[in-house]
Structures are given as C-alpha cells and as structure tokens.
C-alpha cells in the first residue's frame, strides 16, 4: 500500500474535539494513507495527528480540519516543523518520561488490528500462562504485588487464589468497566485503544482460576468502548483466542459485553453483579464475598479493567519484574488521569511513588485557566479535596490514606481559585443522594440530610449547631453505610471544610472546621476496611 501513513485517533475524547473531521480532511489530500489509532493519552494535544517518517512518528497537536490543507502545503506529510510540531511523539518528554506497561500499545496501533497487537508484544503473557499450572499463574500475580486498580487496592493474586480453591460447576471472570468516577477515563481510553489487552488479561485470569465464562460490564455512557470491545471479541473468536480450546490448549472461555444503564452505584462490585444478573443494582451485604459466591452465586473474579490490563505483562515478564517498580506496598505502575481545570490533561502511567505535585504541576502544567491552584480532588467523587500544601504526598495507597485521601482509580481533578468549596461539599452529598442505591439508611437518608444541613450552614442558619450536626452525620455515614458510596461521601465533605473553612464562613483553625470524630484512629480503620473490601470503580 502506497502513501504516507498518517494516524488520527478515533478515541472518543479526540473525536469530541474534531478528530473525525480532521481525518476526513486528510483523506482529501493526495498521497495519504489514513490509520485510526487510539489516543496516546496526551489529551491536551488532541486531535493529535501523527505522520510516519524515517525519523519516527512526527506529531502535530490540536489540528483542526480547517488547518489541514495549509499544514500539508507547508510540508506536514514529510514531517516539517510546522503547526506547533511536537517532533517525534515517542521522544516527547511528556511521554518519554512515563513508564507505560498497561498502556504500552494504546495510541500506537489500530485498536482492533490483531496482527499489530501480536507484533507489539501481545499474547506473550497468555502463551506463557497456558504453559503453566494454574496455581503457578496465581502465584506469579501474588509475587507481582498487583493490587486492585478499581479503588479498593485488594491484592489481586489473593483474590484469584480464593476463586481457584473454590469448588463449583462454573466460575466467572467479570471486568468492571463501569468507570463512573469523575476525573477518571483510563478504562475507557484503554478499552477504545487496545481492547485485546483486556481480553488477554481476562483469558489469563480464566486459566488461573478455572473459569469458563466472562462478562465485561461497560457503562452506557461509553458507547464507543462498547462498539470497539464487541468488535475485538468477535475478532478474537475468529482467531481462536476465545471459545473452545483457546489456541489449542485445554482452556475454554466465552466472553461477552454487557451494558449498564446509567447507575453510578453499579461500579460497586456487588451492585455490578446484581445488574449483570438483570436486577436492580443494589449493594449486597458481605459476606459472602464474590470470590466464593459472586455472579449467580458462583465463585467469581471481579476486577477493574486496569487490573486485568496489568496481567499480560506480569505473565510475560514475570511477577518480580513488576514488583521491582513502585514503593512500599504499592507495587508496579499507576495509571494517573489528570483532569478538570488543567493545562495538560491526560494519562500518565508512572511507577508508584511519584508526588501529586509532580503530576499536577509537572505533567499537568497547572490550571488551564492560568489562575492559581486552589485544590485537587483525588480518587473520584468519593475522594478527598487536597490543599496545595499537601501536594508533596506520594502516589502510594498507605501514604495517601495517612494524608486522609485515597488513590481510588487514579483520577485527579484540578480546580482554580474560583471554586467554592462549600458548593463542592454540597455537590458531594447531592451526588450521593442522586446515585445511592437506597438499600441502607445512612446513605439513602444521610445524603439528603447532608444537602439540607450544608445549605443551612451556607445560609448562616445556626452555623455552629449545624456544623456539629454535619459532623455527626458524616460519622454515621462513614461507619454505618453498607458500601463505599455512603461510607466515603463524607470524605470530600470533611476535607473541603477542613482545608477551606473560609468557604463555609468558619474561621481557619476553628474546631468546627475539623469534622474528624475524636476517635480518629477508629475512623481511619473503618474507612480503610470500607475501601479495601468494597470497591467502587
């Protein structure tokens, strides 16, 4: 095939700022062979056009359809330094300084090109796993130190071991792709950009635990991910990677996509299982744990997409290679997502241990508005708001917990100094009221009372009494809720008040600003167990 190869992402974020129109304009140019890759995760540069040259793939950021004829005339197709050219994309500091494991192929290849997948290291983990005893595959993952990337941080290998040892007529593997947390989009970008990595990770899991059926639960807000995954699954079946006797082995595994229906709570693993069973997505009480009694009461592995996406590399290169990265009990890489009011938002996959400041001010480049940073919310709508003074905390499950925050799914949302933190605290309660499944009272009723109480505080009505009431309410929700939705909603509320009391008309340093109950150690322990046992993506 002749012509200059030109990549234009078909990732839905790139498309939201005009990538399809840019692709159409490039197709009008003579000598262009258009390819549609996923996004490199440099979302600040989208639509990012890459031209293949002898030097490598040369990047042109923020191209619009109207720019195309001019750029071509100025020599874009030969890699000329025009239009804010980024040079060779892989050598650009923003990418070159990352350590991409799960995202190694995203943005590089066409998402459903199974040949390119194999040429870029795909299936190596699966082939090694299939040559191993299932128990040894599980131990390899235990060795890697991989912890659940959905937010709970539970050791993946330990979960798998439980499922492997369970006796049942059928076992399931379920991928939680109900990525509902604001500020997180890594699951979507990977599903749209490199779906075979997920399929490979789930196949390895199935072999390790003895499962024969799998489901990918995707939220309905991700229509492009649904289409891409379904296409990839069809192709994998056609090439003998799904179905009976996978690649001539004794493994049989059937996989299908199931679509959610607009309920945030279905990112909580037991709600997701009920939803997969065709029921209301209500949280289940534990025990029993899903590893023993999950989907349709059978032993079930439920992992986040990013957990599965780490598995192929762990099997290909060995658990120790993965464990060699990271810090403390947080091993390997974390896929960080920079979002909100940020100059260079996107995906940064780096070893655990990097500081929040390096991410937000280094990679992120501060606010998009150019105004001073006021706060960042880490780990989704149930995560804490940090004060910039805390930004030197490293990305590490334990270090963040100590700082009163959490890794969550790795999302961080930056805000400039115009944000009203009392308004954000109210929104946290409002969101919980809108999305609570309704099963337990602290969450269902507490969130509604929380909105009302914060409204009274903001309105200056009995401020002192209502702050005490809010403290009591937050303690009840934290300790009494069935899952992380109600249990963690107080986190953004209390952190907003603690770090930004002036937004609540409370004097800095006042006791009223610190809602942490007096038995704080106890609370910390409760929160930690809430996070580690009840994952919400």
């Amino acid at each position: 095939m002749n012509g200059v190869q030109v990549y234009v992402p078909r990732d839905s974020s790139a498309v939201s700022v005009g990538a399809h129109e840019v692709a159409a304009a490039l197709e009008q140019e003579a000598g262009v062979r258009l390819l549609r890759n996923g996004s490199r995760g440099m979302l600040w540069a989208e639509p990012l056009v890459e031209v293949v040259t002898e030097r490598g793939r040369i990047g042109y950021p923020n191209v619009s359809a109207a720019d195309v004829p001019g750029l071509v005339e100025q020599g874009m197709l030969t890699g000329a330094d025009v239009g804010g050219c980024l040079g060779v994309v892989e050598e650009h500091e923003w990418l070159a300084s990352q350590h991409r494991v799960s995202f190694a192929r995203v943005g590089v290849i066409e998402p459903t090109d199974i040949t390119a997948y194999a040429e870029h290291g795909g299936w190596a983990g699966l082939h090694r796993a299939l040559s191993m005893d299932p128990a040894d595959v599980v131990e390899e993952v235990v060795t890697s130190g991989l912890r659940g990337r959905g937010g709970a941080g539970f050791p993946t290998g330990i979960k798998w071991r439980t499922v492997l040892q369970a006796e049942a007529d059928v076992k399931f593997v379920c991928c939680n792709l109900d990525e509902g947390d604001s500020g997180t989009f890594a699951d979507r970008v990977l599903a749209e950009g490199d779906p075979f990595t997920l399929i490979e990770g789930m196949l390895i899991t199935a072999h390790a635990v003895g499962a024969t059926e799998g489901f990918v639960y995707v939220r309905s807000e991700y229509p492009d991910a649904i289409v891409t995954l379904r296409r990839a699954i069809d192709i994998a079946y056609a090439h003998g990677y799904l179905g009976a006797d996978v690649q001539g082995s004794s493994l049989s595994f059937d996989l299908q996509v199931r679509v959610g229906a607009g309920a945030y709570i279905c990112g909580e693993e037991t709600s997701m299982l009920d939803s997969l069973e065709g029921r209301r997505g209500e949280v289940r009480a534990k025990p029993p744990i899903p590893a023993l009694s999950g989907l349709f009461g059978r032993p079930t592995v439920v992992n986040n997409l990013l957990s599965f996406a780490a598995v192929p590399m762990i099997l290909a290169d060995g658990g120790e290679a993965y464990a060699a990265r990271g810090t403390g009990r947080s091993r390997g890489t974390q896929v960080c997502q920079l979002a909100g009011n940020i100059a260079r938002g996107g995906i940064v996959e780096v070893d655990f241990g990097i500081t929040v400041r390096e991410l937000l001010e280094g990679y992120g480049g501060g606010t998009r508005s150019g105004r001073p940073i006021k706060t960042a919310q880490l780990g989704g709508p149930l995560g804490a708001y940090l004060h910039p003074d805390q930004f030197d905390v490293p990305m590490d499950y334990e270090a963040l917990a100590e700082a009163g925050a959490m890794v969550g799914h790795g999302g961080m949302v930056l805000f400039d100094d115009t944000v009203d933190m009392a308004g954000m605290a109210r929104f946290a309660m409002e969101f919980c009221a809108a999305e609570s499944c309704g099963k337990c009272t602290p969450c269902r009723v507490g969130s509604v009372r929380g909105v009302e109480t914060i409204d009274r505080i903001r309105g200056g009505q009995d401020r002192e009494k209502n702050l005490v009431l809010l403290q009591d309410l937050c303690a009840t929700m934290t300790k009494g809720s069935l899952c992380a939705m109600g249990g963690l909603t107080p986190m953004p509320v209390t952190s907003a008040l603690k770090h930004f009391p002036e937004d609540f008309d409370v004097a800095p340093g006042s006791d009223l600003a610190d809602l942490t109950p007096t038995d704080s150690d106890n609370l910390q322990a409760t929160q930690h167990s809430a996070i580690s046992e009840r994952s919400t993506t």
Partner: protein
C-alpha cells in the same frame, strides 16, 4: 424508532425481542435496552409481556425499569442535550453551562436536557452530548451554535 404503532404490533414486537434474549444468563437488561432501542421507550404495557416471557414478576421488571436512569417510560423528545455535571466538568464551568442549556431548551419545542455524571472526557471538558454525539471544550457560545443546527 417508530413514532406510532398500534398496541398489538407493539406487544408482538416486545415479545419477539424478549424471546430473542430469553436464553441468555440474566437477560432483563439486555431486553430492556433492545426494546428501548427499537421502540424508543419502555411502555407500561410492555412490562407484563416482558415479565411473562422471562418468567419474572411484573414487580421485578418494573423495579428494574425504575431503578436505572437510562430506561425511559415516555418517548424521547426530538433532540436530547446531555450536559455533564460531574466535578471535572464543574471545574471548567459545567454548572452555568447546564443552566444555559436548560434555558435554551425551554425556549423551544422538542428539545430536552439531561444531566449526566461523567462521559469520561474529563481532560477536555466541559462535555456535552447532542443526540448521542460527544463534544468537548464546550462553552456557552459553542453550545448555542451546536443547538442552533436544530433550528
């Protein structure tokens, strides 16, 4: 989506769709998505038919329809604007944008506005979807331009 079909045809269609998924594990959400995709909404009259084919109670099916925000029990407007109101888009002005969309929609017929909590486009917000097409970096002027295409 068919605008008007008679009750008998509708009931027949709903049963046929439901039967197509009846052998799947936990098929109810699959069925409801398919009925809505084909007929635009899930009518009260569809629920007993679905329950009958799947051997569920009417209450169980009704409970699922009412639990999930995606399932609508009325036909949709001609045009739907979905505005993300989650934190990352709020950091870039999603709240006033949502208010502007609501006001613009109230001034014309056949447009409805929905709030959405996250499209996963959090690095390029504020994000709006118009009739299923995602747009990033939308300010009030851009929203007005996009909605103007429906004039």
């Amino acid at each position: 989506m068919s605008a008007q079909i008679d009750a008998t045809t509708r009931a027949h269609t709903v049963r046929a769709i439901t039967q197509g998924y009846a052998r799947e594990r936990g098929p109810l959400l699959l069925v409801l998505h398919a009925v809505q995709a084909e007929l635009g909404h899930i009518d009260d009259a569809d629920i007993p038919a679905i329950a009958d084919v799947l051997n569920l109670s009417v209450a169980e099916v009704h409970g699922v329809v009412s639990f999930y925000k995606d399932f609508r029990t009325e036909p949709p407007a001609a045009h739907v604007v979905q505005v993300c109101r989650a934190e990352a888009c709020q950091a870039l002005g999603a709240q006033p944008l949502f208010a502007a969309a609501t006001e613009a929609a109230s001034a014309r017929n056949g447009v409805e506005v929905e709030e959405i909590f996250c499209f996963g486009n959090c690095a390029l917000g504020p994000t709006v979807s118009l009739d299923g097409r995602l747009h990033g970096r939308v300010d009030e002027a851009r929203l007005s331009e996009l909605m103007g295409q429906w004039a």
